[in-house]
């Protein structure tokens, strides 16, 4: 995908949750790579494993979850680190978190610590990674608040999260995430909790930051519209696996996997004038505890064939830079 030297490369990642009810295969064999300065959109419905994948890249998988297989390779100038092998509480991963890879979350209401001032939370993020004085860090924090479009940054610095609106809090979160110039920003549904006019503001801001900071972004969302407006490349996830991956234009204009097509047919679009009927995907998402047999989408797929129920299609190229996990697009096996 894109440039030759990816910034981060995830190989055959599996994250399982061992619970009383069984083993939930939240992420069940995922491969993707993000090149520097590119934005990868990860799209899928709830429970598809997109957020867990993001947390795995941050090294933030907590019990009862566990990375059971795979590699998460972060490429630096001279060496490559496998994040999946680091101690999740250790020094090395802490040097990466917030510094090389930063993250913002869905709920701006609960992601900021309610008892500390906005500014102090950003200063903390800076001082954790940069050996600079407190005063200098303060100045940088104020600059960051201004950079993310928060009016009166010096006053906002002194305020507590509850004194800011949802959109402002998400801006503050972004300022905090950008504070150490990360090479990769993971955005986990950052606009989902926001109203549509505020969502537009935040998307606009993120697009601007992407240009100014040259940061690669892993943008997770369930909203195809947001993906279309943000991403360079797109992966579509279903039941813990990637079912399709391609550059953004390619995937929207030539979707190959029946699930991707189903998703696109499911959403009404403002651009659409005909009173067409939505092409809903039948059935429900299967339980993540169930043992997988063949293609995970086969039970809901209108094109499912015999082979789909018995064999796993695996993600294979269907066009240059465009891969799909579907037997429909293969020469007869």
């Amino acid at each position: 995908m894109g440039a030759a030297e990816p910034l981060i490369e995830v190989k055959d990642l599996k994250v399982h949750f061992h619970t009383e009810d069984g083993v939930a295969r939240a992420v069940d064999g995922v491969d993707f790579a993000i090149a520097p300065e590119r934005t990868l959109g990860v799209v899928g419905e709830s429970g598809c494993g997109k957020s867990v994948t993001a947390r795995a890249v941050m090294g933030l998988i907590d019990a009862p979850g566990r990375i059971v297989q795979g590699e998460i390779l972060l490429r630096r100038q001279s060496q490559v680190v496998d994040i999946s092998k680091l101690d999740p509480r250790g020094r090395e991963i802490r040097g990466i978190r917030g510094n090389e890879i930063a993250m913002i979350f869905q709920e701006p209401m609960t992601s900021l610590n309610p008892v500390f001032k906005i500014g102090d939370q950003i200063v903390e993020a800076i001082l954790l990674h940069d050996r600079i004085g407190r005063r200098e860090a303060r100045e940088r924090a104020v600059d960051l608040l201004a950079a993310v479009g928060i009016p009166l940054p010096r006053q906002r610095f002194e305020q507590f999260p509850h004194q800011l609106s949802g959109g402002m809090r998400q801006r503050a979160m972004i300022a905090m995430a950008m504070s150490c110039n990360p090479r990769l920003l993971i955005a986990d549904e950052p606009t989902t909790a926001l109203d549509v006019t505020i969502q537009a503001q935040v998307m606009d801001l993120m697009n601007a930051l992407r240009r100014d900071f040259n940061t690669a972004i892993m943008f997770i969302t369930h909203d195809l519209g947001v993906i279309a407006g943000m991403a360079d490349d797109v992966v579509v996830m279903y039941l813990g696996r990637i079912v399709e991956s391609a550059p953004v234009r390619e995937i929207f204009h030539h979707p190959k996997h029946p699930y991707t097509r189903g998703l696109m047919g499911s959403i009404p679009s403002l651009a659409d004038w005909g009173a067409r009927r939505l092409t809903a995907i039948e059935g429900v998402v299967p339980s993540p505890f169930a043992e997988r047999q063949g293609c995970g989408f086969a039970p809901r797929c209108p094109h499912a064939m015999e082979i789909c129920r018995t064999r796993d299609p695996g993600l294979e190229d269907v066009a240059p830079g465009h891969a799909a996990a579907c037997f429909l697009h293969r020469a007869a096996p």
Binding site: V196, I227, A228, G229, W273, A280, V285
Partner: protein, 345 residues
């Protein structure tokens, strides 16, 4: 528009929530959730009511069904009068006696947003669906059960689901159960309060299609409340846009989206992300946040965020008036502005 086709005529509806404090529960402020809404719903149509969180759209829906007591205004419903005759006269829901109200409720039902809290976890699906009939004292027990099974079929569930409990169902299936319950009394008007926004994308489409099918099958009229402009555009015949407790614009769907007359509508449309990387719209970014409904701005509530605002907008409340064929808006400059709409292809 001729009055015969009106099913519901809401006039100057207001709902203020008092903010109380202290032991004596003194009222210290008013949240003006709904602040003078005029809305007419025609028989057989789907009227979309769209707006951002806190604009009062849900309260409007709940006040129409008197799930919350309106502070003032009229809600005229064409239906039975107190004697139960299908009279042509309009009954005011707001002043209806409890007996009248109980009869009116047979005609007006609601579908909720949250498919989890809307079903009592301790009742079977059949009990849930038949509960409105039981409350209204209609039919015998076995007839009610038969009706429940029939309704489950109509919403795409199977009869053997009837004896199960809600927790055995997924969000989409639960929403179907809620829809079946709403239809149990064979209502004419259904207020659908964000019926798909808690659901996954692929399930949303199932429920939207189902709602459309049921409308045809049962001759329903929908007041469809949502924050998602695309969904509203898809399902509605006419659309009303709400901002800070007031309707700022109302028109037929094509007219509203193709030829908006209120700057807020324009901004809202341009903010919606479209699932097409080549679909370029002129982005009109609204500045700032929605002001508090406790203390709304003077004049036109929208003026602090409006890029077309002039001095008059700060002082004078714009009238909600006809600005075109079956097109209403409350903007001082509605006639002079040429706003950006979606081109119809």
């Amino acid at each position: 528009m001729s009055t015969e086709e009106l099913l519901l005529d809401v006039r100057a509806l207001r709902k203020y929530f008092p903010v109380r404090k202290g032991l004596l529960q003194r009222t210290v402020a008013q949240v003006k959730a709904v602040d003078g809404v005029d809305l007419a719903v025609r028989t057989g149509e789907t009227l979309g009511l769209v707006g951002e969180s806190g604009c009062g759209k849900t309260t409007t829906g709940r006040a129409i069904l008197r799930l919350t007591e309106p502070t003032s205004g009229e809600i005229l419903y064409r239906g039975r009068d107190s004697t139960g005759d299908p009279d042509q006269a309009m009954t005011d829901v707001v002043t209806a006696t409890p007996e009248q109200m109980k009869l009116l409720r047979r005609d007006m039902q609601i579908i909720f947003q949250d498919p989890y809290s809307s079903l009592n976890p301790r009742m079977t699906v059949a009990e849930i669906v038949a509960e409105p009939l039981q409350i209204q004292g209609l039919m015998t027990r076995s007839e009610r059960e038969a009706r429940a099974v029939e309704l489950l079929g109509a919403v795409g569930l199977s009869p053997d689901h009837a004896r199960r409990y809600p927790h055995e169902f997924s969000g989409g299936q639960r929403q179907r159960i809620g829809i079946a319950r709403a239809l149990a009394l064979r209502p004419k008007l259904v207020v659908a309060d964000e019926p798909v926004s808690a659901l996954d994308v692929s399930i949303q489409a199932q429920v939207i299609n189902l709602l459309q099918d049921l409308q045809e099958q049962f001759g329903l009229t929908y007041l469809f409340i949502a924050h998602d402009l695309s969904v509203v555009k898809h399902i509605s015949n006419r659309v009303a846009v709400m901002y800070l407790g007031k309707i700022v614009e109302l028109a037929g769907t094509r007219e509203l989206f193709g030829n908006p007359k209120h700057p807020y509508t324009e901004a809202l449309m341009s903010a919606v992300p479209v699932a097409d990387p080549d679909f370029k719209v002129e982005r009109i970014l609204l500045e700032g946040d929605v002001p508090s409904p406790v203390n709304p701005p003077s004049g036109c509530h929208f003026h602090p965020r409006c890029r077309y605002a002039k001095d008059i907008c700060k002082v004078e409340v714009p009238a909600y008036r006809a600005v075109g064929q079956d097109h209403f808006a409350s903007c001082h400059r509605a006639d002079e502005l040429s706003l950006y709409g979606l081109k119809s292809s």
